[in-house]
């Protein structure tokens, strides 16, 4: 047999080993500190988040940066010890039958690496709790918006100038005012999420859930359903428009009054709707997410291909198919997939324009 025994085990070598060990540790400490600094710099340099559009987003992004600053050294510590051990202590030729020194433990070290992480974690939790309190801080003057999820769309309800509820398929909120969302679901679980606001909450059938957001940036941001809700889950996306207070008030007044199509820009009444005004409605109401329609360059596959399904159908059939989707189900598709609420969320003028538009582009 070859050389059996313990690497540097004899008495005289023990002292050298101790000194060597301290030198090892010093070397590693330098490597660790340098790589931690580089790692933190790199981690902070990455553009992680989408656009910051609320006060909540600012606080959450800062929390993430703090977590990164704490995390990188932990990872570097593990990495440096592993790599250093691999480099320094790997078996060399002739050591095949050798053992390491029989170190069974070190109580002081074990107490240190139990206590320090525990203290750090409690500190992080406290900071997270403070952040949580900040981002959920309730403002009495908040604007109330009711969000109702169903397979596979969101509807947003506001209190109109006359006190009656106003429904909209698009989310409009004024900038620099807290919005208090009350979230509900008609069927299964959904999750109301605006990544730019960093806030989300499940829509749970049977109970109201709540979410507060203070938008700070004007613009249009995606509203995403984040909880698996069935086959159309991927396309359950709408838009959140953050606008000035004046623009919001105008929008709400128009919305409450009714006749103005949201996207068409004209002022005609329902009867005078034209096919040209229907195309923006088709896109704004989210039809393109599920349906294919060549004219609108829509390629959705959740629902029937409208170019073939509506071919040669009259306006009455198209209208019924929109407001009462379960009246007739296209072959190969299931009932209860298309939202049944378009009669509520579309203004009569919009609906009329959409019907005319669909009839005109599927005629041929």
């Amino acid at each position: 047999m070859g050389v059996e025994g313990v690497r540097s085990a004899s008495g005289s070598e023990e002292i050298t080993a101790g000194r060597e060990s301290r030198a090892n540790l010093r070397q590693m400490l330098v490597i660790g500190v340098v790589s931690s600094i580089i790692g933190i710099a790199l981690a902070l340099a990455i553009d992680w988040f989408p656009v910051q559009a609320s006060t909540q987003a600012e606080k959450i992004d800062t929390l993430y940066d703090v977590l990164l600053i704490f995390s990188v050294p932990v990872f570097v510590l593990v990495e440096v010890v592993v790599l250093y051990s691999v480099w320094r202590f790997r078996m060399k030729p002739g050591e095949e039958l050798m053992d390491g020194p029989p170190i069974h433990g070190n109580t002081r070290l074990e107490i240190i690496w139990t206590a320090i992480p525990a203290i750090l974690l409690v500190c992080l939790c406290s900071y997270a709790w403070i952040t949580l309190t900040d981002i959920e801080d309730a403002d009495a003057s908040a604007l109330n918006v009711r969000v109702v999820g169903e397979q596979f769309t969101w509807t947003f309800y506001y209190r109109g100038p006359d006190g009656r509820p106003v429904a909209s398929p698009q989310l409009y909120v004024p900038v620099d005012r807290q919005i208090n969302f009350t979230v509900q679901s008609k069927d299964v679980l959904h999750d109301f999420w605006v990544p730019a606001f960093r806030m989300k909450i499940d829509a749970v059938p049977g109970i109201d859930t709540h979410l507060r957001v203070n938008p700070t940036l004007r613009g249009t941001f995606p509203v995403v359903c984040a909880e698996l809700c069935g086959l159309g889950h991927s396309v359950m996306r709408q838009d959140a428009h953050v606008v000035s207070k004046a623009a919001f008030d105008t929008w709400l007044r128009n919305r409450a009054r009714g006749p103005a199509p949201r996207a068409g820009g004209g002022q005609q009444a329902g009867g005078g709707a034209t096919a040209a005004q229907g195309k923006p409605v088709f896109n704004a109401a989210g039809c393109s997410a599920c349906h294919t329609l060549a004219d609108a360059k829509a390629t959705g596959t959740v629902g029937p291909d409208l170019d073939t399904a509506l071919k040669g159908k009259d306006e009455a059939f198209i209208r019924t198919s929109i407001v009462d989707p379960n009246a007739e189900i296209a072959k190969g598709y299931s009932a209860n997939v298309m939202p049944p609420n378009f009669k509520q969320t579309l203004k009569p003028a919009e609906l009329a324009a959409l019907v005319k538009y669909l009839a005109s582009v599927t005629k041929g």
Binding site: S71, S85, I135, V204, L228, G230, H233, S234
Partner: protein, 644 residues
Amino acid sequence: MAAKLRAPGWYRSGLFIVAGVLFAAALVTAVRAAYGFSQPFEGSGGWDDDWQNAVLTVSLIGAPLFFLVGLGAFDYWFYWAAGRPTRPEDHSSHGAHSWKDYFRVNTDHKVIGIQYVVTSFFFMLIGGLLAMLVRAELAAPGSQFVDGNAYNGLFSVHASLMIFLFIIPVFAGLANFVLPLMIGAPDMAFPRLNALSFWMLPIAGLMMTASFLAPGGSFATGWTAYAPLSTDVPIGQLFFTIGVQFAGASSIATALNFLVTIITMRAPGMSFWRLPLLVWANFSTSLLVVIATPFIAASQFFVLLDYALGFNFFTWQRGGDVLMYQHVFWFYSHPAVYIMMLPGFGIISEVISVKSRKPIFGYRMMAFSLLAIVLLGFTVWAHHMFVSGMQPWIRIPMMVTTAIIAVPTGIKIFSWLATLWRGVLHLDTPMLFALGFLTMFTLGGISGVMLAMIPLTIHVSDTYFIVAHIHYVLFGGSLFTIYAGVYYWFPKMTGRMFDDGLGKLHFWLTFVSFNATFAPMHLIGIEGMPRRVADYPAQFAGWNLFISLSSFVLGLSTLVFVYNIVRSWRTGARAEANPWRALTLEWQVSSPPPIFNFDRVPTVVGGPYEYGVPGAVHGIFQPAGREAKTPQPAAVAAGETSRE
């Protein structure tokens, strides 16, 4: 032929499956007739859907039981219960003499261990294939080749197979093989129960895989199967709901078996403080399984009752409570992540100590931290529900316990690092996977602590950040430990050596492509890509293509492993009894071990990891004739070395 159909085995089980389905059809037809419900050929559309779904549901529950009876899993008990003479204990069902013995109800823990491991890897390959299909669909925005429903099915079956048919049972399989050997026992405490637990597993796996053939497609509600979505979808859902019951029952029975085996069947001198950490790990895991698994069984029974019999557990209009599902589900499924991790911790302790040629650092803290994780593991479940709409105050204690559970986990990581320190590191395949585990699991742990922080989770829950986190924990964590364990015990299980060169190739391919696949998911998740979507905005297209390409390399790297294992098993060099010069008992017997493990009962006289201690022994084989005596306390004390 008639004799073959009467004897336990595949012919009889085939016959019994047919009988089971016919029984289900008869029962359903009779009950439906009694209530005046529709019958098979009523109506214009031919086959009646309601009748068919009812028969399918009853068959899913009943046919597997008929199959088990036909296979002979209950024969001994039935004979015994009926007062008929049981077949004599000639141990004819012990050991494997040809490959056919692996397809029988076999009571040898070594055979069952291999049955478990091979079956689990079979389903792992199917699950991996499904993951490739998921990534193929996601390679570009828009719809590639599956629609929304089929896509939801792909990732649902992928996750369910990987969790319930791979990670959980493969650990049970490895432990089945090595644990009795490690504690010096001739077998598990309940060999027949052990065989039954194994045979419930392929049932669950085939059921989940076969759900793609169900009318309306496979179950498509994720492995979490949240109600009320899961109570109102096509019949494929029940293939999950019922499949989980079989996987869960298998898991519970095995865990009980491990607990009794560990408590009662340790060799003389094998005190709890001399148990190898793999045994400690499986002891802890089994505690988790026995306490937690009934909860997922309950959650799926609720779904089954709502789905099939019109109960209203989750119908809010009738007083149902939707959030209740999540609480019951996660009360199992959070401990389940430790069920999928603690046995891996055990494997890593074995590999790192042996391959560093040093005693495990802080043995007792390693054992205590396992128990601490078991305890804390039951207090964190609602961190999966920070945005679920539950009562807000409960989030704070759940955040604190979630963060604190990182402390015992940290103790383990630091102790492994200290074990490496100044050792003589043998960097072969098992050790590479162990070190890969250390680094990757640390990343998964760090993102886990981040996810404990409620404000961040409000943003990233249900995004690809979560997908990244669970894959760092379950792939970078669990799967790396599984690979380490399979390579480490391969010589013992098969009597052959694996090809270390191919093993290293496998490691590096896996390590690099794993990181390339899952690291970018952190970024796209935070940027706003939700999980479980078949389609995504164009802004994520670049990263998704990169991830898909990396995942294909990751998939291919598995083939290196399969090739290495299959070839080495058939033609590898013969393994000696103890190729790693390890001290634990399984290495003190031949490879593969004798049919009853130990020709002489070993006596344990020292700790399992006394590397570097001159003349240290863990177990000795007493000379014949002295088996009856218990070890002398003096010998035990002399063999034990002080901790410092």
